[in-house]
């Protein structure tokens, strides 16, 4: 009887949010099980528990019926578990073979590294993957796709019983994806357990045997891949028919004059970007991770340097050398990574909301506390942020509430916003709040504000944006109006050369 | 609240540990407001640096010169008329700005004198923070001290004297006389002409090198004086030695004299070692070497450097102070560290202890003490302490002389 993996009553809560709540399911050997769920459904938290990076608040992980107590990743690896994270865990300054054998380098007598064996076994693995990588090459010098493959080879080398992939195909080309799927097939035939976390439905139907659906940290159901279809999955994932999340949106039918014109924008990461944004229009910006969408908006916002190209705001050419200028001119950027780029976790909700408008809440030299509280209060009411007072440090809020704080910051009563740029605004938010966000975005559009809406959720960008620009590898590969847009057509543009 | 209770508990623990350390105020030297240890130790403490008082009258002979018996005995141990034990013991504290080994040893001698002239002795080191020195002096005044032995930063002597006057408590300088900004004495003190001392060190080497090397051409003798240029007294010590060397052998001075400013290496034995070995190896053509220093540590470092380069047969070292050299001699050391300009601490501190007791008794006012030592145009006396340059052969009888002096025989 080959191995079987069982999660029993797994629970985990972070300050202010219940990330996982009573999750139980079993996966037996020789099967590929997909873990499907919206952003913030608890997928990566579950993987962190499996890998021993964090400890479960309740319940436990069982292999062949025996409970596993992991206090560190080392123990998880020892009991045959390998997790390949989305953000690569590699050391760029060291070579390929040392990265692949990171953690247990083959050593001869007295702990000396057996370089010959290290190199030999590395070459074996590389050949079995058929990749043109040299064992002594510095990992930092490899293209991003190969770095991801090194990460996968690292897990393969351990020939663990259980291997989990977290969004592995995000930055792989088609040929590399087929190599990965071949490998997963091989692992399945060897009787191993493969967990495959992704929200690319096409991939899930291609290689997985069963699908576990999570929503808001709770277990929904397990489905056999053969017996289900996209619609049923999405409904299970979203918890109600997606139809009504978008249907209620009151669209803007006539647009004002051109608000923002970008022509032939050239930066270190993006090339020859040109598009227009009219006041009242919601422009979707879609594409795979790493397509350069964030880099475009950061360039416009003055956060990254512009090599050449022209930006016009309300017809007048502008060049923002730093974000402060863009904000003054009425451009707001809601950054993609909430914790790293958006929030000052130790400070209160009020401090975070009023941060960009401190000039407007001043009485002479000093900040006016009453005015600040007012601005914060409006935002809290507008986005119904669950908090006893605006003094609570943002650290103690849930992911969804944190995102609302940032939205509140950029759309506060004191912000004079002409162009609102939202980068993955609904990432890690529960579905209920998402609908609210879409409604607010449309309200802004109706007030004449131009919105640039970046999202990797195809269904979302198709249903919210009036017009969608698709990017790949730093270039615009196409433009689709909402009427003729479909997931397949946008994905096709996102994938094409 | 639970956490703040934990904080308070640990605070209690921390303070009880510190207080038990303070439990024995008697012998452990009183505290200073030191501002935290600094990892960079290049800043050697300033303050009165050791340089022994010269014997003004006669060039230092091998045998110790007799203290001049003429002149008043008020404020001296020789004054047998005083009954020191008819009163409660005074409370004296020795306040130093940056305690060094030399202050440590003088402190012990002052403590011994406390037993003979009836005062309780304690110490205070302000760790080169004169801000703390002055505030602590005010604090002690409130605690009822009867007198202060002081070694403030030389440049703050005037401020210290003024403060003592305000507080109405007699003070007496120990290592360095207290002068105001224009160089006039503001209290009686001991004569510490560092320049004169430097001259004596060089003079001894010049007078005695033939006993060790025979008849050697002076042009072949290099002279390295080790000092640290962060303190005026040390610099004067060097200037005295250098000028005497130039005065005696002017024509070869330029070529043979080597400046030994160890400031960058700090005040330690290894600083003396590294500096001396660099100079010796950088000048192999120099056949013979005089090495002199204003600090004992530098002398010890130079001795180790000479041994390391096995040049002992052509190096003569004379340091200022012999506190570690005497035990070495007793342990059989017979190396090139041949002599030291030395004064027994007991002899050096006698006039200070008895002087301060006289002031505290009110038997004399500062300007009355030792009129025979008043220089023209000075308000206060500047007592000259006999020093001697001792060698391996003469140090026993010097120790015996000190023994007799302290027991009040002569």
């Amino acid at each position: 009887m080959d191995t079987y993996l069982e999660f029993r009553g797994i629970g985990k809560s972070f300050p202010g949010v219940q990330a996982l709540d009573d999750i139980s399911f079993t996966v037996s050997g020789g099967r590929v099980c997909a873990i499907l769920g919206e952003n913030g459904a608890g997928k990566s938290t579950l993987l962190k528990i499996l890998s021993g990076d964090i400890q479960p608040g309740a319940g436990g992980v069982y292999i062949n019926g025996a409970e596993q107590r992991f206090t560190s990743p080392y123990q998880a690896i020892r009991s045959g578990i390998s997790v390949i994270y989305q953000e690569r865990q590699l050391i760029p300054a060291m070579n390929v073979m040392e990265n692949i054998f990171l953690g247990d380098i083959p050593a001869g007598r007295a702990g000396f590294v057996d370089r010959a064996e290290l190199r030999g076994r590395t070459q074996e693995i590389i050949d079995s993957f058929g990749l043109p990588i040299h064992p002594l090459e510095l990992v930092g010098r490899l293209p991003v796709a190969y770095q991801q493959m090194v990460e996968i080879m690292k897990a393969y080398r351990r020939n663990s019983k259980i291997i989990a992939f977290d969004e592995p195909t995000a930055s792989l080309t088609d040929s590399e994806i087929s190599i990965l799927f071949e490998l997963i097939g091989k692992l399945r035939n060897d009787g191993k357990i493969v967990l495959y976390v992704s929200h690319r439905l096409s991939e899930i139907f291609q290689i997985t045997d069963e699908i576990v659906v999570l929503k808001d940290g709770r277990f929904v159901k397990t489905l056999e891949t053969r017996e289900t279809d996209e619609q049923e999955l999405i409904t299970a994932m979203v918890g109600r028919d997606i139809g009504d999340t978008y249907s209620g949106l009151k669209r803007n039918d006539r647009y004002g004059e051109t608000l923002l014109e970008v022509s032939h924008l050239e930066t270190a990461a993006v090339h020859d970007i040109s598009f227009e944004l009219k006041s009242g229009e919601i422009l979707g910006l879609s594409g795979l991770v790493g397509a350069g969408r964030t880099e475009v908006v950061r360039a416009i916002f003055g956060a990254d340097a512009i090599i050449s190209g022209e930006i016009k705001l309300e017809g007048k050419p502008v060049h923002f050398k730093k974000p402060g200028d863009a904000i003054a001119a009425g451009i707001a950027l809601c950054p993609e990574d909430r914790k790293e780029q958006g929030l000052v976790l130790l400070r209160s909700i009020r401090d975070n909301i009023t941060a960009p408008v401190l000039d407007k809440v001043r009485k002479g030299l000093f900040l006016d506390k009453k005015a600040e509280d007012e601005v914060a209060g409006d935002a809290i009411k507008k986005y119904s942020i669950k908090t006893p007072s605006s003094d609570k440090p943002v650290l103690e809020l849930s992911g969804g509430n944190q995102q609302k704080v940032i939205l509140g910051r950029w759309t506060s009563s004191k912000m004079v916003t002409k162009v609102l740029i939202l980068d993955e605004p609904t990432k890690g938010i529960d579905v209920g709040t998402k609908a609210e966000v879409y409604r607010i975005v449309c309200d802004f559009a109706r007030d004449g504000i131009g919105v640039i809406f970046i999202s990797s959720e195809l269904t979302e960008v198709i249903n919210v944006a009036d017009r969608i620009i698709v990017m790949r590898n730093g270039r615009i590969t196409g433009e689709v109006r909402r009427e003729e847009a479909s997931e397949e057509s946008v994905l096709a543009l996102a994938m094409s050369e | 609240m639970k956490r703040s209770l934990a904080v308070l508990l640990s605070a209690l623990l921390c303070m009880s540990a510190v207080s038990c350390a303070g439990g024995n105020p008697g012998e452990s030297p009183p505290p200073s407001v030191s501002s935290g240890g600094s990892p960079t130790a290049e800043a050697p403490p300033s303050g009165g640096e050791p340089s022994a008082p010269p014997d003004a009258s006669t060039p230092a002979a091998a045998t110790p010169a007799e203290p001049t018996a003429t002149g008043s005995v008020v404020g001296r141990y020789a004054d047998k008329s005083v009954d020191y034990f008819s009163r409660e013991p005074y409370e004296f504290v020795y306040m130093v700005n940056g305690m060094l080994v030399i202050h440590q040893l003088l402190g012990e001698a002052l403590a011994d004198w406390g037993g003979r002239v009836n005062y309780n002795y304690s110490e205070y080191d302000s760790g080169s923070d004169m801000n703390a020195f002055l505030t602590t002096m005010e604090t002690y005044a409130t605690q009822g001290y009867d007198g202060f032995f002081v070694d403030p930063d030389v440049t703050v002597a005037q401020r210290t004297a003024e403060l003592a006057e305000d507080l109405g408590i007699p003070i007496f300088p120990v290592l360095v006389p207290m002068r105001d900004n224009d160089g006039k004495l503001i209290t009686p003190g001991l004569h510490l002409d560092s320049i004169m001392v430097g001259g004596l060190q060089t003079q001894w080497l010049i007078d005695n090198y033939t006993n060790y090397w025979g008849d050697v051409d002076p042009a072949e003798i290099g002279y390295l004086f080790l000092y640290a240029s962060f303190n005026k007294n040390l610099v004067d010590n060097m200037v005295g030695a250098r000028d005497k060397f130039q005065e005696t052998w002017p024509d070869t001075f330029e070529k043979n004299y080597y400046d030994g400013d160890c400031l960058a290496l700090g005040v330690s034995i290894e600083a003396g070692f590294d500096y001396t070995s660099s100079i010796f190896t950088a000048n192999p053509d120099v056949k013979y070497w005089f090495v002199s220093s204003c600090l004992e540590d530098y002398g010890q470092g130079a001795a180790r450097a000479a041994e390391d380069l096995n040049m002992e047969d052509r190096v003569l070292i004379l340091s200022n102070g012999a506190n570690t050299l005497i035990p070495d001699w007793q342990g059989g050391y017979d190396g090139c560290w041949v002599a030291a300009l030395h004064y027994a601490n007991e002899i050096f501190t006698e006039p200070i202890a008895c002087g301060l007791v006289a002031l505290a008794d009110g038997r004399a006012k500062p300007e009355d003490l030792w009129p025979e030592y008043k220089q023209p145009g000075e308000k206060y006396a500047l007592y000259v302490v006999p020093t001697v340059i001792i060698t391996k052969d003469t140090y026993q009888d010097y120790l015996q002389y000190v023994e007799d002096f302290v027991s009040g025989l002569d």
Partner: protein, 316 residues
Amino acid sequence: MKEGSKFLKSKMFALLVLLLLIVVFFTIASKGTFFSLVNARNILNAIVIVALLTVGAGALMISGQIDLSTGASGTMCGILMAILLVNGWPWPVAVVVALAAGGFVGAINALLINELHFQGFIATMAMASVTQGLSYALGGAASIPVDNKVVVYMGTGRIADVVPVSIIAALLIFFVYGIMLNKTKFGRSIYLVGGNPAAASLVGIDPKRISYILFINSGVLGSLAGCLFAARLKSATTTGIVSSQFAGMTAAILGGVSFGGGSGGMFGAFVGLLILNSFSNGMTLIKISPYWQTFASGALLLFALALDFSGAKKKN
């Protein structure tokens, strides 16, 4: 002026109780002399120099930076002022030039850290070594007398023979910086930069500008401390306030300034300063050996870090 969450309040309470405890403990141990008017004056005297360094270090630490060069550069500026005065420069010009020199050292620190990506503590330690050398070059062995009436009064003058003039300046500076940190846009941006520099730059705050300003400010305050010290002693020496920056840092951390920025204020730093100085002064009174005091100052720094322990832990 409430300083944010409950967490800080409970810590401020613990600090004030700790201060009270120290006062009571040393009053008993020193049979009353600790709690006398004269001794209070001594504590205030000792506070002035460290207070200036605490304000400079505290503001920098809130923005997530550290400056270990203020002691050495302050000493150098004290000597510089003395030399200018001796050469007949009018005192306002001499003081301003000395403060400018301190600011210049601060600017170099900021340049090394912001443009050349040095780590804060190693860059400022290197500058400490450089300024220490320059102190010796400028000052040499002989210390330079300071006898300009006005400057000396700043250092030694007292009102009603109890309250030193310089302490008023120190208290004023604490008050002004406290208001600035809590009440002004610039102060708020220091907290935001300290909490998350990347996020701060995306809301229009320039972390580099803040860093330059705060390092120059730390240099100027260090210089002021050096000049005041020279004025108080009526002479500038090469040892001056060479290792006082550690006391400033300890006081700031003790007062709740969490390293890595984002929290702590000037009121907390002032209480930390009172704790530090009454602790040292108390030890002086009950005659604890100076060597035990060096030990205690190190222990106090670790104890201060323990207090901040919860702050540091929460972040990583």
